[in-house]
């Protein structure tokens, strides 16, 4: 009895996870020190996250909010939050990347108040989406991040920031609305008597009484295009590389590291579970698209001369491998996708953080101007290597664990695609190694000799990088950290 009471109390940790960043936003708006507040709430948020993890590891899931209403209502919206083994890794990914992003963000930036508010809101959007059980809030929270991203790129961005901000916003809005149609379709596919916006109940209903294949195919296609746009699946990708290249480093970290995972999470959680037959029908389309991601974007990344753009392209390219995990149809592949989601989130965040620091310290991210950086800034160089190695899937890092599982998982059903994906590894290695070579051992550039380039200094500047690096290795060596809690859910997911 007492244990139950404790568990009930612990469920309040879920809304607390959303409340803390909100309070941080309010505090900053009212005048408290922006960077310290943002860092503080991001760090404080680890406490409820630990509580949530404890409950999830013990009981399998944690839920907050009213019981599912059985009354028939016009619009049965209920504020319900939940977390299980599948959302737990993403919850942690969000918290970690948010903290690192706040650590990398500079206090001396212009209009720092709005800057940190926008960053906190982007993180909050990701958190809310991963924790929502009600589809209304699931969708809404993701959209919360849309306008702050627009402003982040527009005000604090670099290069063609105006174009990038508009393109990204319009693209993501279009994707979201298509996704909304797909979600509406799922909700309305259920007979009126048991209609609900709660995806847990909806999943049960649609598993008990599956829809017809044609119906499922239409819905799966809508969800694929909707979520696919958010994940920058070819041909809906063109917002991504430029957007990330223009965004300030913390925004790019949050967006590439966290928000992009929303689309994959949604596909895993909704499309695969509720429209499995439809998903099988369109898997050849997904195959074509992901091959596009791997080959087209991989080749495009070879041509990049700017390190930020290279990261943008390679980040979008790895989405292809992730999708391969999703269509593989095995627990191994899905688990690999989950691990790669986390790995990619961490490595992309690290990459953009390094690129941001380089840009800030040298005034350029053109790779030919960066020759000799290794001598000038060995620590920065070290983390650049780590990000690069993680991104090309060096064993020991999280990305390798994810990729190898995806390859094995998809081998029996899609051997050709696995072959293409293996070529993707080659392409990304070539691109990344060329970049690293020209930065480290290329001729010492004029910029490096004339400018006073400084390295990362002191713990206060190094810790975000070290933090992400340690986690990359931790997940790489012990992928069971993620797979353990998630396995039962993934196994249920592919049961016929």
């Amino acid at each position: 009895m007492e244990a139950r009471g404790l568990a009930m109390t612990l469920t309040w940790a879920l809304p607390l996870l959303l409340l803390l960043p909100t309070l941080g936003v309010v505090a900053i708006a009212l005048g408290s020190d922006p960077r310290r507040t943002a860092l503080g709430v991001s760090l404080l948020n680890f406490i409820p996250a630990f509580l949530v993890s404890g409950v999830v590891l013990r009981q399998g899931e944690i839920l907050f909010g009213p019981e599912v209403s059985t009354l028939r209502e016009v619009f049965p919206i209920q504020f319900r939050l939940g977390c299980d083994g599948l959302s737990l890794p993403l919850l942690w990914l969000t918290l970690v990347v948010t903290l690192a992003a706040m650590g990398v963000a500079r206090a001396q930036v212009k209009r720092s108040k709005e800057y940190f508010i926008c960053l906190l809101l982007v993180g909050l959007g990701g958190l809310g989406a991963f924790l929502s059980v009600d589809l209304f809030y699931f969708f809404s929270f993701h959209e919360v991040a849309l306008i702050p991203s627009f402003l982040l790129i527009g005000i604090w961005g670099q290069g063609d920031r105006t174009g990038a901000a508009w393109r990204m916003t319009i693209y993501l809005m279009l994707g979201s609305l298509l996704l909304l149609l797909g979600l509406l379709g799922l909700v309305f596919a259920v007979p009126e008597i048991s209609r609900t916006l709660d995806w847990r109940v909806l999943t049960e209903t649609l598993r008990a009484q599956p829809l017809g294949v044609k119906h499922q195919t239409i819905l799966a296609a809508l969800l694929l295009v909707g979520f696919g746009t958010l994940v920058s699946l070819v041909p809906f990708h063109s917002w991504a590389p430029g957007g990330y290249a223009s965004a300030p480093a913390p925004a790019a970290m949050l967006h590439a590291g966290v928000l992009k995972k929303f689309g994959l999470y949604g596909l895993l959680r909704l499309a695969l579970t509720m429209t499995p037959l439809g998903w099988k029908e369109i898997s050849w389309v997904v195959g074509l698209m992901l091959a596009g991601n791997i080959l087209y974007l991989g080749l495009a990344s070879l041509a990049q001369r700017d390190f930020r753009w290279l990261l943008g392209f390679s980040s979008a390219m790895h989405m292809g491998t992730l999708f391969l995990g999703l269509i593989g149809g095995t627990v191994l592949g899905l688990g690999g996708a989950l691990v790669l989601m986390v790995g990619h989130g961490l490595s992309a965040a690290l990459g953009f953080a390094v690129a941001g620091e380089i840009g800030h310290r040298t005034g350029t991210t053109w790779m030919q101007d960066l020759g000799g950086l290794a001598k000038k800034a060995p620590k920065l160089w070290f983390y650049l290597m780590i990000a690069g190695m993680a991104s090309i899937g060096l064993p020991g890092m999280a990305n390798f664990a994810g990729e190898i599982m995806i390859f094995f998982g998809a081998w029996s059903s899609h051997p050709i695609l696995v072959g293409i994906a293996a070529w993707g590894v080659v392409l990304s290695s070539v691109a990344m190694l060329r970049a690293i070579r020209s930065i480290s051992s290329g001729p010492v550039s004029v910029a490096m000799t004339t400018q006073q380039t400084s390295d990362l200094q002191g713990t206060s500047e190094v810790w975000p990088f070290a933090f992400l690096t340690v986690l990359l290795f931790a997940v790489g060596f012990i992928p069971n950290l993620i797979l353990g809690p998630a396995r039962p859910i993934l196994e249920r997911l592919i049961q016929p």
């Binding site: 209502e73 402003l151 527009g154 609305l177 298509l178 909304l180 149609l181 379709g185």
Partner: protein, 485 residues
Amino acid sequence: MSPWLCPEVLLVLAGVGLILTDALLPPGKRTVLPGIALVTSCVLLAGTIWQSGQPMTSSWGNLFVTDGLSSVFKPFFVLCLVGVTLISVRTPMGREETVRSEFLALPFFSSAGLCLLASAHDFLAIFVALELVAISLYLLVAFQRTQVKSLEAGMKLLVMGGLSTGFLVMGIAWLYAAAGTTEFTRILLEQAGRPASVALLLAVGLIVTGLAFKIAAVPFHAWAPDVYEGAPTSITAFLAVASKAAGFVLLVRIFGFGAFALDSVALVFRPILLTLGIATVTLGTLAALPQRNLKRLLAYSGIAHAGIMLLALGTLGEAGMGTVVGYLWAYLLASFPVLITIQEVERIYGSADVRHLDGLAQKDPGTALGLTLCFLSMAGLPPMLGFSAKLSVLSTLWNAGEIPGLVVGVIMAVVGLGFYLVPIRAMYWEREADSVPICRFPRFLVWILLSAGLLQLLLGLQPRPLIRLVERSLAPSVSAIIQEK
């Protein structure tokens, strides 16, 4: 509850009272008039809200009814009046200062007409009420008679309004010829179960045309941007929100549960209304893209909103009607604060160009935030109230199987971001111009904007109160129940 205490009567009395007070006051004391007008409108709002909870038994035969719809929309119109009065009070009048009392009093008459319209249950009553609204508006639009734009706007509204009234009267005449009555319930009883005659369809078509002018639906929209731009901002607000809402209330009543809630009519008019909706939302959104004047931008966005509501209405089901009711409230909450801001921008800078908002976020963060929330709600971005409204339109269309409307609605919602983000961009990205006027926005504006923005945010996260309101508006009419007994 005596029918003589209904909001309509009180509104007319208040209007007359304002003019009389002005005439009786010594010339030096006229400055108290704006205050009196504002307080009166607020008192009337409280009275109307209180009264809308009370059952009303008598309704002058069946000319007027008091039902859910009217009790939800009378407070709506009086709330509009409060906002309009607030803007009117702040309007610089220049040489027309001596006639400010008329400028303040005439909206009261118009609002009385709108309230009558909300409970009209007979086409004759509708005609009278619409004229009461329109004639005051003709005067008000052309009120700044030293300005060519204002005169031009007044002239346009007069001609277009006259034309639309012509359509409406013609329609009513045909209706009388077809059905032998102009009372809603009797038309319904008369025509139920019969195939619609050509005369009836013609009548419905003419009446819809007349109303399409009022709500500025394509192709009867051309007057709106010019009139909105030329009219004093308070009157723009009245036209953009109250007058448009009145048209929709009427459409909801006649197609939802009034005269034309007939299967035979629905068969013909459902595709027509949906087509009108598609055309309206498309044109409104695309034409808004190049606008850089806030008033014109709002005019075109209003056209787009009318299109979205027409799409919901065009499904001609209960869900569609409820959606329109909810959408109107969301529209009111989003656009009135913006209109009040436009008035202040005009007051300070002399025009409503969007570049006057440049750099607002830095000098006045509260105003910028409130304005941003309102624009986001209009754009229909979650978690604002506008998203819930748009979502219910989309789900209505999905449920009714209207795929073309659905697709157009979605595409236009995306395109709409292209112009709703323009003022937001101006406020946050741009720097303020070098020549900074000394005037700042008044403090009350910040509070209005912030509280409206916050209200929309909260209602967006938890739309239940609005859903209750919608459910209430669709409750069976009180007088109908009394009649049955």
